[in-house]
């Protein structure tokens, strides 16, 4: 009984290390695929449209809601100390350094990452990826690399949009509704936000963009090799759920690490 438990533990450990190695190799192949010819420009544009343009609405509403809540909450907290003039700094720094990149990444994971995982999972179980391999067509260059490039461009742009809409939402709640001085809102923002803060937010959004494609597409690509998810349509649904959870948790963990390293 005890021997069985030890064997199971060992087997799980080996499986986890194998999985990590496989995913590392997968990321490397995907990055290499970005430089292999012929470049699939049409597929890249399609992915840019899917990940970027398709996420505009959800990003807009999330940013507006987050900014307005920050404006209201910030006002009530700062009002206690008579520091309403700091509202612009508080809202903009929170959005640019933390909430913008993180919430954008979580929204993109939920909307585009899950779709990416399911699409590749279905292609895998219906032998479409094997068919590419058999035709000597590199599946990384053909399928995954355009997704990575599109995410590397669209996630930072969506984050920038999130920041702008969030700051506008904070302005509506703080200035228009609660009566904070508009000059102090924007002046506080101008004086407290540095290039380093913007750089930090941009680096995070790049890293998150890569992370989303890596985890979500990788889980779908390897659906046939992941232990414990079963087979067929059920394996795709389980792996898609796993991908969204893993990607979201990784974004949150990496957010802390990047802040700790880069701040």
């Amino acid at each position: 009984m005890q021997q069985n438990s030890i064997a199971r533990l060992g087997s799980t450990g080996i499986s986890a290390v194998t999985d990590l190695g496989r995913m590392g190799f997968y990321l490397l192949q995907t990055i290499q695929g970005c430089f292999r010819r012929p470049f699939r420009f049409a597929e890249f544009m399609r992915q840019l449209n899917f990940i970027g343009v398709g996420s505009l609405v959800v990003i807009f509403f999330t940013a507006a809601s987050t900014g307005m809540v920050l404006g209201l909450q910030g006002y009530y907290s700062l009002h206690k100390f008579g520091a309403e003039g700091m509202l612009g700094s508080a809202v903009s720094l929170t959005l640019i350094m933390e909430l913008g990149p993180v919430l954008t990444a979580l929204m993109v994971t939920g909307r585009a990452g899950s779709a990416m995982c399911a699409e590749l999972g279905i292609m895998r179980i219906s032998d479409q990826i094997d068919a590419l391999d058999c035709m000597a067509v590199d599946p990384f260059r053909y399928l995954i690399s355009p997704k990575l490039l599109a995410a590397l461009i669209s996630v930072p742009l969506l984050t920038a949009l999130f920041d702008v809409v969030g700051i506008a939402g904070g302005y509506i709640a703080g200035v228009q509704l609660m009566g904070v001085n508009p000059g102090s809102y924007f002046d506080g923002m101008r004086t407290s936000v540095t290039n380093h803060d913007i750089w930090l937010g941009t680096v995070k959004s790049f890293v998150f963009g890569m992370l989303i494609v890596w985890i979500c597409s990788g889980r779908g690509y390897f659906v046939h090799q992941i232990r414990g998810v079963g087979f067929g349509a059920r394996s795709v649904s389980k792996v898609t759920t796993q991908a969204v959870v893993m990607s979201s948790i990784s974004v949150l963990i990496l957010d802390y690490l990047l802040t700790a390293i880069l701040i």
Partner: protein, 261 residues
């Protein structure tokens, strides 16, 4: 091309089960597949028929032994060598494996667009000519979901034949087809093989019908392999599992057919 299109030498393959145990699929098996002929690989479910095809294509690596394609050792082929190896093959998957977001035309044109430097006009001419030969003319703008099972197989075959392969691998090509369509597909295989001259390897459960196409039969059973130089030779085997295989899969129909011959 050498006399043997493919040679397996002491090939071993095992999988790790969910409970951590080891399941042996191929246990030091050796066989050859003659060039220009049709070899049928038969056996029960889970006996390693599809694994054998994946090993040939380099989609899976063997745990031991050597695989030769046209005399070249390709056991550990990687990168460009593996790519070059795969250009020799055409594969028709069980479900045809057409890209469901592409039209029939784009599916068939894919290998030409990706692997050749032909112009769009040349590609169009070649694809339309293939579709006409395989009776898919007029269906080129349909998506795979709009095709019947037989049409999907024909589209898959058209795609596989675009680069004029030396060896065609068919993975259970008639699964899910009615007897009439099955017969049509077999006739199509025979016709295209005569035109292109490829070596044909067919994994199939459709016994005894598939034996009408076979020059050689390989039966996989519990990790071992039995090779028969002709379909007729199977019934003379004294091995109990082959006798059981003949009885369950062919019954009296094929035996009486042999007696007639």
């Amino acid at each position: 091309m050498s006399v043997n299109a493919i040679e397996f030498k002491d090939i071993e393959k095992a999988f790790v089960r969910e409970d951590g145990g080891r399941q042996v699929i191929l246990n030091k098996v050796s066989f050859t597949i003659p060039a220009g002929k049709t070899t049928v690989i038969a056996g029960g479910s889970g006996q390693g028929k599809s694994v054998t095809l994946k090993l040939v294509l380099g989609l899976m690596k063997a745990d031991g032994g050597q695989i030769f394609v046209a005399g070249d050792d390709v056991t550990n082929a990687r990168g460009n060598r593996l790519k070059e190896l795969r250009t020799r093959f055409g594969v028709l998957f069980q479900g045809a494996a057409l890209f469901d977001s592409m039209t029939v035309f784009d599916n068939v044109a894919l290998p030409l667009r990706e692997r050749t430097k032909k112009s769009e006009m040349e590609i169009k001419d070649q694809v339309m000519s293939s579709l006409e030969q395989l009776e898919l003319y007029g269906h080129e703008n349909k998506f795979p979901a709009q095709l019947s099972g037989g049409m999907k197989k024909r589209a898959g075959l058209a795609r596989a034949l675009q680069l004029k392969p030396e060896i065609m691998l068919f993975d259970e090509p008639t699964t899910g087809l009615d007897p009439v369509m099955t017969q049509e597909i077999y006739q199509l295989f025979a016709r295209t093989q005569a035109q292109v001259g490829y070596t044909s390897i067919i994994v199939s459960h459709d016994i005894p019908k598939i034996f009408n196409l076979a020059d050689q039969v390989i039966v996989l059973n519990n990790g071992d392999v039995d090779v028969f130089p002709s379909p007729e030779a199977i019934q003379w085997s004294q091995k109990p599992h082959i006798k059981a295989f003949v009885k369950t899969t062919m019954g009296t129909i094929y035996q009486s057919h042999l007696v007639e011959q």
